[in-house]
Symmetry: C2
Subunit: 236 residues, 2 copies
């Protein structure tokens, strides 16, 4: 395996805690009471798949995630009864860019730093390039390149999101390992011939999470976290 390509939201960063943190600050600043910030994070995230599906299905052209997030932010605030017309565009833009300021899980930077000595490491995220670059600069995530939806112009789990990435890297599918905490992402990658590595993130959706606690197929690698992934790969 010459390259490891990573799902990011959930696998590399704890999006739920990060969004809840910045949402709480936003609610406090604008005296918006009675909205649970974690529930708000979940509600915002729930609009993510339908928004991408519009692009995947061809109903709209490929549109970068910052724009989809911004549209969804207006919808979710409206659903909570917030009058967004009374909020400054800058404040909404600032909250939208909270996705650029998510923190990695504690094992990420150490594990990736070791893996980078061995292989190409890159995000294969549905997040756009600026989002990934800003996140990596802030959190010192040592990517070799920023790949993903904006480069392939396709949202996972569409096959071109994987096949174009392999072609861009100039490698064979087996030489590229998709790393994710989500079995469905790995399933789609495997159908395109990629290698697969599962790293569970059992609190991505909070302490009551019931999905993706275990591997659903015999993935090529199953690691406890990114340090364990580096142990398994660098040893081989």
């Amino acid at each position: 395996m010459k390259a490891f390509c990573f799902d990011v939201f959930g696998t590399v960063v704890d999006w739920r805690a990060g969004i809840a943190r910045e949402a709480a600050d936003f609610f406090s600043e604008y005296d918006l009471t009675g909205i649970d910030p974690y529930e708000f994070a979940d509600s915002w995230r729930n609009l993510y798949q339908p928004a991408m599906e519009a692009c995947r299905s061809g109903k709209r052209p490929f549109t970068r995630l910052d724009i989809l997030h911004r549209e969804n932010l207006g919808i979710v605030l409206g659903n909570y009864g917030v009058n967004t017309a009374g909020l400054s565009p800058d404040a909404l833009e600032r909250l939208n860019s909270a996705w650029h300021r998510l923190d990695p899980w504690p094992d990420v930077v150490g594990g990736l730093t070791r893996l980078k000595q061995h292989s190409i490491i890159a995000p294969a995220s549905n997040g756009n390039i600026a989002l990934m670059v800003n996140m990596a600069k802030r959190a010192h995530i040592p990517w070799d390149a920023i790949l993903g939806a904006e480069v392939t112009q396709a949202y996972k789990p569409s096959p071109p999101a994987y096949t174009r990435m392999v072609e861009i890297l100039g490698l064979s599918p087996k030489e590229v390992c998709m790393v994710a905490a989500h079995n469905n992402d790995l399933h789609a990658a495997r159908l395109c011939g990629l290698s697969t590595a599962f790293v569970p993130r059992k609190t991505e959706h909070g302490t009551n999470q019931i999905t993706d606690l275990e591997p659903s197929e015999n993935w090529d690698i199953v690691a406890r976290d990114f340090n364990h992934l580096a142990d398994l790969v660098v040893k081989n």
Copy 2:
């Protein structure tokens, strides 16, 4: 300036010496005598602009540089009277990938490592993503992202090569500084509103070089090399 985007061939790496080195090995392996490897490097490089011009003009769709280089390699070997049918595809592919193994000028890694603490740093090269990633891995060039022609689907000096890069970074044009040893690259970037930095590479074309020895316009920054560039930027 929040991001510095770099021309690569000539500005970051010494393509002429690198190609000559691997060409000399190739000629030796196949007993091809009487071809000067530096002249060969120049001849191969001379086919670079016409090949990209076919894409820029719309005569052919955007095609990544590894493919254009490979086509041009066949042409230039033919021009030297080499019968490429007698050579293995693997050997030709290996020589073609010499562009992935070019060495940076001595000031590059130190200067970029300091600049990276201050700003986003990325290649804005006509080279494709795999070429840039492999080059950076081998030479330890610490890019934050790989931008350039394959991401923007446009070859410099076409305006979209600059404007799409600025948009992808989510910045204003002035916040993005194009760094190049070539005045024409900076001229095109300035027309798109980008900031500009000139770093001369007076032996890119050998010791008798007569082009790009001096800045041709009042670029925003003129630095002696990448260490000096880091001095000027990190101080400000």
